[in-house]
Symmetry: C2
Subunit: 112 residues, 2 copies
DNA sequence: TTGACATATTCTACAATGTAGTACTATTAT
DNA sequence: ATAATAGTACTACATTGTAGAATATGTCAA
């Protein structure tokens, strides 16, 4: 295995990448925000999402393009994001580090 | 369930807390560093560990005390860290957010 | 048609975290 | 003595996290 440079992922970046992956086609800014807010315990500002997406794009973890809104739903134009291989790798690396550190540990002590 | 303020954890803070938990008695700065380096793919500087531990202590996620080295092993004095309930909660919250976002997703696409 | 509302993005600014590196102290080995 | 090792503290800067305001466009009702 050829090891490479270890571009780490911040915790919020991690969640944003996961949201982009799960949303597929529908991965644009506000949808990412909604996905994170619905699934997690967090409150997310729009600014947080957009600047994070922007940074992830600079790192080539995602790419984006302007989508001319499908007339079917509405006609607004949005910027749609798509995960790139390096983004997937980063997610896997982040999760594998956490797993490696958690393996065998008892979390939840005393939490009912 | 009484929800509370959501103190988030940075990605490195997360790993440091896990290291403190697994090390138990032996959780002092350099040991934390070693534990993370051995188990993950990362390179960790001493500065990174100490300032993170310090910040975690300010947030009351861990507490520390100076241990007068057990003569048995050696006689150096070290600062030993111990996880606090809020620290445990933060780890659980971080992992549960990641799980919630990952649930049902296929990671590893095409990685052999 | 306008104006209220909703959806969407961009930009600015600042706070919180991540990280390297150096300095310092004590102990152990040569 | 002096070098090596183990340990901590501190300084400084880079990267990420986050809020909020500004802007634009589309829809709907009056």
């Amino acid at each position: 295995m050829v090891s490479m440079s270890r571009a780490n992922l911040g915790d919020f970046e991690h969640l944003v990448l996961l949201a982009v992956m799960r949303l597929g086609d529908a991965a644009y800014g506000l949808a990412v925000r909604g996905e994170i807010e619905r699934r997690t315990d967090r409150t997310v500002s729009t600014g947080a999402v957009y600047s994070t997406l922007d940074r992830l794009e600079h790192k080539r973890f995602v790419r984006s393009s302007i989508e001319q809104g499908t007339v079917a739903r509405d006609n607004r134009l949005r910027r749609r994001y798509e995960i790139l291989p390096a983004g997937r790798d980063a997610v896997n690396a982040a999760q594998s580090d956490i797993r490696a550190m958690s393996r065998g540990l008892i979390l939840h002590k005393g939490v009912r």
